[in-house]
């Protein structure tokens, strides 16, 4: 480990001095900051003081490289910069910026190392820091993993502060004043005589200066914007139909395209007959694609109709054609040969179980589509030595690279215009739609081609959430949980997803056990084993990834054991919990829900807990058994993200995450028959509708020692809390999602 130590020392030295500019988080040999991409093509008299702040004579633009898929990423990134830059959100424009290594996501490394997020040991922190280097090296400009806030919290505030101090320096030079005599406010430097000098007037001078290096971030007590209710920058446009999404792209001469891919995802397209389709009104061209065909027409609907009229000869699915084959493969994966990890192994589970277990159960979680309401789409214009791509994406640099590979045009001449996203939930971590749109656009150089997936194509070719199976055993004694043994089998999401980008996914896949091995409990004998199932249907990251299935498995198994012990579900979780912020959220939902208080007949209350993405989240769900089925009455949620930057958005994301978790647990699954996904639209993949939505009370805590994101953590506990509540109300233990296979929902 000598090498690790050396790196760590350098990391500390460089890291503490080089965070200036917001991008120079350096470790190891990558201490040179990535070039500031805004310095290319800079207009005359404009200043790009850091990669996040662009000031011209006319305007102030804040660069918000993390994609906004509804989680409010643009607003929070802008607010982090604006807080230190001393501009108000009504004075600025935002722009996602170009794909660039400067915008790599530092926080992604946190979940790629085998340390619990609650582990602050030197070894854990050092390894996280070292992992930063390859991520920076690869320039992973990725939005995901609830990392926008942890990644940007220091970086963006620092970018704003550096820009502010450099502007003050410029004002000092112009007016022959001491910098210390200047203050900043509402986008202007204020001179001692009260004169306001707008930042725009300082841009050309500031551009000649080296960015300031001595800056101090303000304490939270001094914040104007952060920590207070904010109005999202997109709320007016999204309430008036004036927000443009990728699907709304229009360009002179644009043509519209539809696609039809092998219903067995990834299966071959062996041949096709487009003679009928080509005769249809408005059809311009039918183009073969890898695994399918595309139709270019003068109207989206005409393209949809024509795509259906093409006769295609499809090859078989590259995975089991029927669901039995998938479940069998998972069931056969609980063997030493398939063991992927066993990072949690306390006490002596085998010895304890040899005295006789109290429980042996199997849990299942299905494939799930992401199904954001905006179907995937991309507009591509292939020009002379240049390609333009307009799309909503979480992976702009991969998109750029893949379009360059397809067209043979240098990546620097592939211009990615990242657009507002109508929902994602992980869907737009894939870029098939851009690759197909590019192939179509290459068939018509000079013409912008907008490819829109029909809902059916989107849902049936949505690399779904992993299918997963878990087997649990345990033992109780003296009214307490004594032994907990959980094995989880699933194919590797990371191998499947990174494989599609040509990247290796070496080592154990932590997502196979995420939300289970890393839970903050001390149980005398406590073991969590991950088993890597063979690749089945191709899968990808779905809001909360591994924890989306494993939070359900782990917490429900714990609930079963607590009931077997005859203990109180909340009290026993608290007794076992070894992490103060996690205890606090459990205690909070206990108080909010009046846990232990009287309930009506046929009512039940269940608690669920999961720590994911570093965020402990507890939920209490109350259900009633009605003549029409199970009704979810109320949900109480508490989560601790360390610091809440916008309480309005925080509450919205928590409620949305709960509804997302509950809705899919209730009634969603993707199943395969004859190799094809059977669910093609929202009639068979409904999720929660408004009439089913319970009253939800949210409490945010701020005691944890690191700032975290809230996009994903509310999802994993929801299914568990619902299953536990249904058990409390009905005595029926549900161990397989969706629950609608076993109970009706009112």
């Amino acid at each position: 480990m000598a090498g690790l130590k050396t790196i760590a020392r350098r990391t500390f030295l460089i890291g503490s001095a080089a965070i200036v500019g917001g991008v120079a988080f350096g470790v190891y040999k990558y201490k040179t900051p990535p070039a500031n991409p805004l310095l290319d093509d800079l207009p005359e008299g404009a200043a790009a003081l850091t990669p996040y702040v662009l000031i011209t004579q006319q305007s102030i633009t804040l660069i918000t490289p993390r994609a906004d898929k509804g989680q409010g990423a643009i607003s929070v990134q802008a607010a982090l910069i604006a807080e230190e830059l001393d501009v108000e959100l009504d004075q600025i424009k935002t722009d996602p910026g170009p794909p660039s290594p400067a915008y790599y996501n530092t926080a992604l490394s946190g979940d790629a190392v085998p340390f619990r997020s609650t582990d602050d040991s030197v070894l854990a922190e050092t390894t996280r820091a070292v992992m930063d280097a390859p991520i920076k090296f690869l320039g992973l400009q990725i939005t995901g993993g609830s990392t926008t806030v942890p990644d940007g919290y220091d970086k963006l505030r620092m970018a704003g502060a550096v820009a502010r101090e450099t502007l003050k320096e410029a004002a000092a030079q112009i007016h022959g004043l001491d910098v210390a005599a200047l203050i900043t406010e509402r986008g202007a430097v204020i001179l001692p005589d009260g004169t306001r000098v707008p930042y725009q007037a300082l841009a050309s001078t500031a551009a000649t200066l080296e960015p300031a290096t001595e800056v101090t971030l303000r304490a939270p007590e001094q914040w104007r914007l952060l920590g207070k209710p904010m109005q999202r920058v997109d709320i007016v446009s999204k309430s008036t139909g004036t927000q443009d999404y990728g699907i709304d792209q229009d360009h002179p001469g644009i043509l519209h395209a539809a696609i039809r891919l092998n219903p067995a995802q990834g299966g071959e397209m062996r041949g096709f007959d487009a003679s009928e389709a080509e005769k249809m009104r408005g059809v311009v061209k039918v183009v073969p694609l890898p695994g399918g065909i595309g139709v270019i027409a003068d109207n989206t609907w005409r393209a949809f109709q024509a795509a259906l009229a093409v006769e295609v000869d499809w090859g078989p699915a590259p995975y089991p054609a029927e669901m039995d084959g998938h479940w069998t493969a998972l069931g056969e994966s609980f063997t030493p040969a398939h063991q992927d990890s066993q990072f949690r192994d306390a006490g002596d589970v085998d010895a304890a179980l040899s005295q006789g277990g109290d429980l042996a159960v199997e849990y299942r979680a299905p494939y799930l589509a992401h199904a954001p309401l905006e179907p995937v789409n991309a507009t591509v214009l292939v020009g002379e030595g240049r390609v333009d791509v307009w799309t909503g994406t979480q992976i702009p640099r991969f998109v750029q690279k893949n379009v360059a590979l397809l067209t043979g045009i240098d990546a620097e001449n592939v211009h990615i215009h990242a657009l507002m996203i109508g929902g994602s939930f992980g869907h737009r971590l894939e870029d098939d739609v851009v690759r197909h749109a590019t192939t179509l656009a290459m068939a018509m150089p000079g013409t912008p081609i907008k490819l829109t997936y029909s809902r059916g194509e989107d849902m049936t070719h949505d690399y779904p959430r992993q299918i997963a199976m878990a087997r649990g055993q345990g033992r109780v004694s003296n009214g307490q949980v004594e032994t907990f043994d959980l094995g989880i089998a699933m194919p590797s999401v990371m191998a499947s997803q990174m494989g599609r980008q040509g990247l290796p996914a070496a080592g154990p896949d932590l997502q196979i056990v995420a939300g289970a091995w890393d839970q903050p409990f001390d149980i005398a004998n406590y073991r969590v084993t991950g088993y890597r199932a063979p690749e089945l249907a191709p899968i990808s990251s779905w809001r909360s990834v591994g924890a989306s299935s494993n939070g359900f498995f782990h917490d429900c198994l714990l609930d079963e054991l607590i009931h077997a012990a005859g203990a109180d579900p909340l009290a026993e979780r608290l007794r076992l919990c070894n992490h103060a912020p996690s205890r606090a959220v459990l205690e909070a939902v206990g108080e909010m829900s009046n846990w232990g208080g009287a309930l009506a007949a046929r009512q039940g209350r269940g608690v669920g807990f999961c720590l994911s993405f570093g965020v402990p989240c507890a939920q209490v769900v109350e259900v009633s058994e009605t003549d029409a089925g199970i009704k979810i009455d109320r949900v109480f949620v508490a989560a601790d993200v360390g610091r809440i930057l916008d309480p309005v958005n925080f509450e919205g994301l928590v409620k949305g995450g709960v509804i997302f978790g509950l809705g899919h647990a209730m009634n969603c699954e993707i199943t395969y028959a004859s190799g094809a996904a059977e669910q093609e639209n929202f009639d068979s993949f409904p999720g929660m509708r408004l009439y089913q939505c319970p009253e939800i009370k949210v409490h945010g805590l701020e005691s944890a020692n690191k700032i975290r994101g809230i996009g994903e953590p509310p999802v994993p506990p929801a299914a568990a809390a619902l299953g536990n509540a249904i058990f409390a109300a009905t005595g029926t233990r549900l161990r397989e999602m969706p629950f609608s296979k076993f109970v009706d929902f009112a």
């Binding site: 009104r281 994602s424 997302f660």
Partner: protein, 166 residues
């Protein structure tokens, strides 16, 4: 390839009034769903495509003030004046329902919200003081994948108060 002779043969004139403006669209099949006439022929992109089978409500517009799923109405069958979200109000002068949506910061991704707002405006025109059950009944055909339902409920109530002068 383009076949002008067939276009002439099949094309038919469709007359629509959208947001108070008359449109005489010469070359549209009468069976084309109103949604795609609005989006691809008239450039009105407020109504969204989400499902194409009246399961999500993202395409909701008004015909003579009543909410309809524009993906299910053939352009040739439109029976009255069409209003889209663009015709309901503007960023500078939002309709009371839109103002309520802004006040409650309902939108996350926002993709369903044009449809939600059009549905709510139609509900409130018919039922000015809706009960919780009325809101559940009126709004449950509109899907929101982000889960903004709690704020939709609150915003509908606020909009009802605004519209009744409260």
């Amino acid at each position: 390839m383009f076949r002008p002779e067939e276009t002439a043969k099949r094309g038919r004139r469709v007359k629509l009034t959208v947001n108070g403006t008359g449109h005489d669209i010469k070359d549209v099949e009468p069976e084309m769903p109103l949604l795609w006439v609005l989006r691809d022929e008239l450039g009105l992109t407020g109504p969204k495509y989400g499902c194409g089978i009246a399961q999500c409500g993202a395409c909701t517009v008004h015909i003579d003030g009543v909410a309809v799923r524009s993906c299910q109405v053939a352009a040739g069958d439109v029976w009255g004046a069409v209003t889209t979200i663009e015709g309901l109000g503007t960023p500078e002068a939002p309709h009371p329902v839109q103002a309520a949506w802004i006040e409650h910061q309902v939108a996350q991704c926002g993709y369903c919200q044009s449809g939600q707002i059009m549905q709510a405006a139609s509900l409130l025109a018919e039922t000015p003081a809706p009960s919780d059950a009325d809101i559940d009944d009126g709004m449950s055909g509109n899907l929101c994948r982000c889960g903004t339902y709690p704020r939709i409920r609150e915003a509908v109530k606020t909009a009802a108060a605004k519209l009744s002068g409260g």
